[in-house]
């Protein structure tokens, strides 16, 4: 696979605040690449630098070999953007919104009519094509925004927070559409602060915090790289000095989750499960215990010392 997007030591500042700090990653053609991080981590800034909407202050960006800062038109012909806040004309129909986009983006206008029908059917919006977009649900608007971004058949789609404002039922439909487009050879950059979304959708992802890349790999590798299980337990009363209770069990890290939970990182939870329960019961009443493989939230916590939602 060739590199569709390459960022090398990219930095962007807003006044004194460094929004993106020495960020580097490469996105391969045909992959769904995630930018995972909390709000304000610099994800949207990164996307805007890839599109050429924002200038970078340092580093290099290449999109299909073009520098968006130097050759913006070449880049814009090849990318589709679904911004964080869905920017559709609410008083126009879906078809009119797509025609508006076509006039601005499509090189060949003769195929637009068929393409609009194809995309609206694909996104299951054909029946509502003549309705005002203002009457659509959040999920329908996101699907229409995706259809719009795909209308001019770009090679790369930048999707900023795909499921923002979409109800849970709509998430899977949207992910399905993105995956379907991937099979057509499209490359996606998806920015999200939802670990479940990143896990379900991305082939690889970069975890971004305070504008810096803290980890980069596939979700599976990122999780397995931790080489530990996560044990979450709740007792009554809460265990006040966990170090004394769990001595000798090979606990790698202990985090208190208020009000009464403890989160333990352990290399092999199954082998110490019996002893762990015995010691907890001796220390107090065990209300619940959960042993799980790490999630991306655990990966984020491991690398940054705080949870993704904090």
């Amino acid at each position: 696979m060739s590199s569709a997007i390459a960022l090398h030591s990219v930095t962007r500042r807003f006044g004194d605040m460094v929004a993106v700090n020495d960020l580097s990653f490469q996105v391969q053609s045909g992959e769904i690449f995630g930018l995972l991080g909390p709000n304000g981590a610099g994800k949207t800034t990164t996307i805007n630098m890839v599109t050429g909407l924002l200038r970078r202050h340092d580093g290099e960006v290449h999109v299909l070999g073009f520098d968006p800062q130097v050759e913006p038109r070449q880049v814009r012909q090849r990318i589709g953007l679904v911004p964080q806040e869905t920017n559709l004309y609410a008083d126009l129909s879906a078809v009119d919104n797509l025609w508006h986009h076509a006039a601005l983006y499509c090189a060949d206008l003769s195929v637009v009519k068929e393409r609009i029908q194809e995309l609206l059917q694909l996104m299951r919006l054909w029946e509502r094509r003549k309705d005002r977009v203002g009457t659509y649900s959040g999920g329908m608007k996101r699907r229409l925004a995706l259809a719009r971004a795909l209308l001019h058949d770009p090679d790369i789609i930048l999707f900023d927070e795909p499921t923002l404002g979409v109800d849970v039922q709509g998430w899977h439909a949207l992910w399905e559409h993105i995956k379907m487009q991937q099979t057509q050879g499209k490359t996606f950059i998806v920015s999200t602060n939802d670990m479940m979304e990143a896990d379900a959708l991305c082939d690889r992802l970069v975890i971004v915090d305070h504008g810096r890349a803290v980890a980069l790999d596939s979700p599976e590798h990122l999780k397995s790289d931790l080489q530990r299980d996560i044990v979450t337990l709740r007792t009554t009363p809460a265990i006040q000095v966990p170090e004394s209770v769990f001595t000798g069990l090979g606990i790698e890290a202990v985090t208190r989750i208020p009000p009464d939970q403890l989160r333990l990182e352990v290399s092999d939870a199954e082998s110490i499960a019996g002893e762990l329960v015995t010691r907890v019961v001796a220390a107090g009443r065990l209300e619940s215990i959960r042993i799980a493989r790490p999630t991306l939230d655990d990966v984020f916590l491991h690398h940054t010392g705080r949870a993704l939602r904090e």
């Binding site: 050429g52 909407l53 814009r76 953007l81 806040e85 004309y89 006039a103 601005l104 206008l109």
Partner: protein, 357 residues
């Protein structure tokens, strides 16, 4: 060309995002004209006179009928009323009543006014004086001094025609600046501006389509007013093409200004208010109620800074068949306004939309 037509069609579809503004921008000046024109200065005044009973009184009524423009309408339409009707003047709609009464044996025309403004009093008094002067001249015979009037124009044109004519550039300006401002500002409010920012086509297409749409909307607004004016007054311009050619630079100037305002403010309400101030200011300064050349001094100099003043002078010949002002300098001024604002709109678009931040 198909792309431009598609962009143009899309621009018209966007009217749905600001329908009330479009209705106000296109129809409000015409509505204002239709409401205001009945109360504007009329050539012929209805003047109520108590039923004449003597020869002197009959002669006065006849003289009132003779007072008028040498090339047009009479100035007085005497309406004879009975003394009983005159007695109920306070509860009637009469503006004034003339009665011939005897004062120490001398017949005296007594003019009684209802609650009207001093300007109307002056007008009604002057007309009665003119009628009395005719009687006086008849009595003086050869000793009378006769006034001869030589109008500049071959025909009397009612003031409502001038007022409507001066509103043509105003409605053109207002429609373009209003709609241009709100459509552009709304793209920032709806965040649809990102669509334009990332568009790979040349900005001249985008701006060209928006400007064309605004110019056509402005012409629609002017067309509605022109029809209303013709219907109301019976006066039509000598050449519709010429009216269109005069209004074209006004429309281009105002469309460009509307886009600039929208790009600078990025909010609908400030854009609308600024457009309104620009449109109304340009109208009032630019010969709204009378030719600016007649004012002189600072007012005239200021008015020359508006496209309206030049457009009104250029339109004058279409309605009156006579040229006022200096056509070459007006053409130059209108061309400069158009090209200047168009260029400014282009650079403002590049700065506010296309610039990489």
């Amino acid at each position: 060309m198909p792309r431009f037509l598609l962009l143009l069609l899309n621009e018209f579809k966007l009217a749905r995002t600001a329908l009330p503004i479009h209705l106000v921008a296109i129809l409000q000046p015409t509505l204002m004209y239709l409401l205001m024109s009945p109360s504007l200065v009329q050539a012929t005044f209805d003047m109520h006179v108590i039923q004449p009973t003597t020869d002197k009184e009959r002669a006065l009524v006849a003289a009132m009928r003779e007072v008028g423009s040498p090339i047009g309408l009479p100035y007085i339409n005497p309406i004879v009323v009975s003394p009983e009707e005159a007695a109920q003047m306070e509860s009637s709609t009469f503006r004034q009543i003339v009665a011939v009464e005897s004062r120490d044996g001398v017949p005296t025309a007594v003019q009684r006014f209802s609650l009207i403004d001093s300007n109307q009093v002056k007008n009604l008094r002057n007309r009665l004086t003119a009628a009395a002067l005719r009687l006086w001249n008849e009595e003086l015979g050869d000793a009378a001094v006769t006034i001869e009037e030589h109008p500049w124009l071959p025909v009397d044109v009612p003031y409502t025609v001038y007022f409507g004519m001066a509103m043509l550039p105003m409605t053109t300006f207002l429609a373009a600046v209003f709609i241009g401002g709100i459509l552009t500002a709304q793209d920032f409010e709806f965040r649809t501006i990102a669509e334009f920012r990332l568009a790979p086509i040349a900005p001249v297409w985008v701006l060209g389509a928006r400007l064309t749409r605004l110019v056509l909307s402005a012409f629609l607004s002017a067309g509605v007013l022109l029809l209303a004016q013709g219907w109301r007054t019976g006066f039509w311009p000598g050449s519709f093409w010429r009216v269109g050619l005069v209004l074209l630079p006004v429309a281009i100037t105002a469309s460009s200004l509307g886009i600039i305002i929208g790009l600078l403010f990025r909010r609908s309400i400030p854009s609308l208010l600024t457009g309104l101030i620009a449109g109304m200011g340009s109208w009032i300064l630019g010969g709204a109620f009378g030719l600016t050349a007649g004012f002189g001094g600072l007012y005239e100099k200021l008015s020359r800074l508006t496209p309206n003043a030049h457009a009104v002078e250029m339109l004058f010949s279409c309605y009156y068949g006579a040229q006022v002002g200096d056509p070459p300098s007006s053409i130059l001024a209108l061309a400069l306004f158009s090209v200047g604002l168009l260029t400014l709109a282009f650079f403002t678009y590049r700065w506010r939309v296309l610039r990489q931040e």
